[in-house]
């Protein structure tokens, strides 16, 4: 992965995979092949891929119910992810978690939380463990714009700053918290300002530009590892779909979605790769088809897999 070209090709592939996965999952929910609810991340792929590409192998991260992008960027097998969404025993959490909890500890994914803000102190705790043990590692945590209004965000930021914990807070500002536009619940536009009361750097990043996301996250992680403490990175991005399965997102002004799609993260990187001569149009089409095939195969594998019994499920509550 040291050759920059091959690295960015892989980023492109990951973003295509996430997009294909999410589009497919949406169809499966709509036609009832997956039950419950889901929170998709189309449009935010550059944040997941760029930030996670900056992690070292033994770094960890926590994310949210909108965590499919991070899970796949961390290398979770789409078949394992799909099986989890379908509640099968072959899922990452054996079907006990579902769409909101794509977890894979072997990939440094130590939590996808369905409680807003709850993942932040968990990441700070992991970072403090690294610091106490003298490990060279750091933690990332992904959190939404709306989540910056809950107390846990403040408590986690404050502890991380006072302890100089090696953690980076990725605020995924997609302009909405459920049906509420940012300014309906938040008195400012730039959430990077929320770093100030902790004496922590706060940086605004173009969340559509995977190169920019990667560069900013790499710098923040280096700072964290060096002992200089945490950072907050505000990723300006947009979610193409509604908040969750049941949300048609009627509350968004006309044209807003189109404007953002003109700066689609996959489009942007795809253009650059062609300009740089790293990839041809045909290669991109081929790659798109390849990841879709991967996702389609995942569905088949998942639907063929069994469910746990309730008794088996009960064996995963306690360790002792």
């Amino acid at each position: 992965m040291s050759d920059p070209h091959s690295q960015r090709l892989d980023w492109y592939r990951q973003m295509l995979l996430i997009r294909a996965f999410e589009d497919t999952v949406q169809r499966l929910f709509m036609n009832g092949r997956i039950e419950g609810t889901t929170h998709l991340c189309q449009g935010q792929e550059a944040v997941s891929v760029g930030a996670i590409a900056a992690m070292d192998p033994l770094d960890v991260q926590t994310n949210t119910y909108r965590g499919h992008g991070e899970a796949l960027a961390l290398g979770m097998d789409p078949a394992v992810a799909m099986a989890e969404l379908m509640g099968r025993s072959t899922g990452g959490s054996k079907g006990l978690g579902g769409s909101m909890h794509l977890i894979d500890t072997s990939k440094g994914n130590i939590g996808a939380n369905a409680i807003v803000g709850a993942g932040l102190p968990i990441a700070v705790g992991a970072a403090m463990a690294f610091k106490l043990r003298g490990d060279p590692n750091a933690a990332l945590t992904f959190v939404g714009d709306g989540a910056t209004n809950i107390g846990t965000f403040h408590e986690a930021m404050n502890m991380a700053a006072v302890w100089k914990a090696p953690v980076v807070f990725i605020v995924v500002n997609n302009l909405y918290g459920e049906y509420s536009p940012l300014r309906m619940t938040t008195p400012i536009d730039d959430l990077a300002r929320r770093a100030e009361p902790y004496g922590m750097p706060g940086v605004i990043v173009d969340g559509q530009d995977v190169d920019a996301v990667h560069a900013a996250t790499s710098e923040a992680l280096a700072r964290a590892r060096s002992g200089d403490g945490p950072s907050l990175l505000e990723m300006k991005t947009y979610r193409y779909r509604g908040h969750s399965r049941s949300d048609p997102a009627k509350y968004r002004p006309d044209g807003e979605l189109d404007a953002w799609q003109e700066r689609d993260p996959i489009l942007l990187l795809g253009r650059r790769l062609i300009e740089d001569g790293a990839m041809t149009d045909d290669e991109q089409t081929a790659m798109r088809e390849a990841v879709q095939a991967q996702v389609d195969a995942a569905i088949e594998q998942a639907e063929a897999a069994p469910y746990l019994t309730l008794e088996e499920a009960g064996s995963y509550v306690y360790a002792d």
Binding site: E35, G36, T37, G87, R88, G95, L96, G97, G98, S99, M100, H101, N113, A114, I115, V116, G117, G146, A147, N149, I150, G151, G177, E178, Y179, S180, M184, T185, T186, D247, K250, Y251, Y307, L308, T309, L310, A313, G314, V317, Y318
Partner: protein, 337 residues
């Protein structure tokens, strides 16, 4: 509440059929319309009718008294308390019961204690509307009923709605009470239809006998009332006559109504969408036994399986939540011994 029940006598209308969702909406709309001191706040309550579409039209009709909050359960519950002590009557929506622990301090240390700490000088007319329950494939952090979490706390009242009529009357009673009241709604019941008596206000602490029977008393709340009634219909074909009590109030607990029913039937089954430990079912059994109520056979509890969390996986979630069949089995078992 006596004044209310008088008032009620005058004004109760003929029952009209509507969904549980519409009953909630009607109670909210009337509460906001009847009293300018009523405010309604919560996450996205004023947007698109709310996440469970119980709030359709309210923001349009009642303007700035329907308030979208940031995501901060403990904070906005405290805000409701502050509003209440200066004369407002806030209704707070909890989008999922699972978020009540996020407001744990406000619910345990503030709402119920505030009046007491002021020596009775302050009143706290705050209603928490809590959308609860499993079966929706929302996973282990979004499927609690939480109906017994706060039943031990003096200063609080806790209600749970099983029918459209109860959803309407309990919410009306909560908003009129000068004390903090938690009202649970079950997300799987929103589409259920049933009669609603406009103008009716539930009496605090009064359970409702949903079905009369002679052989056994089944006590339940919310979705479990529905399943208990299904069980009763199944049992009827076997010649077993089951009485079904909708508890309606978890605090205060209507031990009297249940004791009278068990006095007639001699047998008790509690059907609860919660673990048996530290719940209303255990409390009810304990209080009945301490009162020396006669039981012809051991009481039975149909509950969430001990030591298992609620799984996302659809077949597993269905296996965890008590069904009509499991309730019927418990009844049959109680008649055997």
């Amino acid at each position: 509440m006596s004044t209310l029940t008088e008032q009620q006598a005058e004004t109760v209308a003929e029952p009209t059929e509507m969904t549980y969702r519409d009953a909630v909406n009607l109670a909210l709309d009337e509460s906001l319309a009847d009293d300018p001191a009523v405010v309604f706040l919560g996450e996205d309550v004023a947007n698109a009718g709310g996440v469970f579409k119980t709030n359709t039209g309210l923001a349009e009709k009642h303007g700035d008294r329907v308030i979208n909050t940031p995501i901060c359960e403990n904070g906005f519950t405290g805000v409701a308390l502050g509003m209440s002590v200066v004369g407002m009557r806030p209704i707070v929506e909890f989008m999922f019961a699972d978020f009540m622990p996020s407001a744990g301090d406000a619910i345990v240390n503030q709402l119920p204690k505030y009046r007491f700490m002021s020596g009775g000088a302050l009143s706290v007319p705050v209603t928490l509307r809590v959308i609860s329950g499993g079966g929706g494939r929302f996973g282990t952090q979004h499927s609690a009923t939480g109906e017994s979490w706060f039943m031990a706390q003096p200063g609080l009242r806790v209600a749970a709605a099983a029918t459209p009529g109860a959803a309407y009357e309990l919410l009306k009673a909560a908003v009129r009470s000068d004390d903090p009241v938690i009202v649970h709604e079950h997300k799987l019941l929103y589409t259920r239809k049933g009669p609603v008596r406009r103008g009716a206000v539930a009496e605090i602490g009064r359970a409702a006998i949903e079905r009369q029977g002679d052989d056994v008393t089944i006590v339940a709340t919310m979705l479990m009332v529905d399943r208990a009634l299904q069980a009763a219909r199944m049992l009827e074909t076997e010649g077993i006559s089951a009485e079904v009590v909708d508890l309606r109030w978890i605090r205060p607990l209507d031990v009297g109504t249940v004791a009278a029913s068990v006095g007639r039937t001699g047998r008790l089954v509690v059907a609860e969408e919660q673990w048996h430990d530290a719940g209303w079912g255990a409390t009810l059994i304990s209080r009945l036994v301490m009162q020396g109520v006669y039981l012809a056979s051991r009481p039975r509890a149909v509950s969430l399986p001990d030591d298992v969390l609620i799984p996302f996986s659809p077949p597993l979630e269905d296996a965890a939540i008590p069904t009509a069949e499991r309730i019927a089995d418990a009844v049959r078992d109680s008649l055997r011994s």
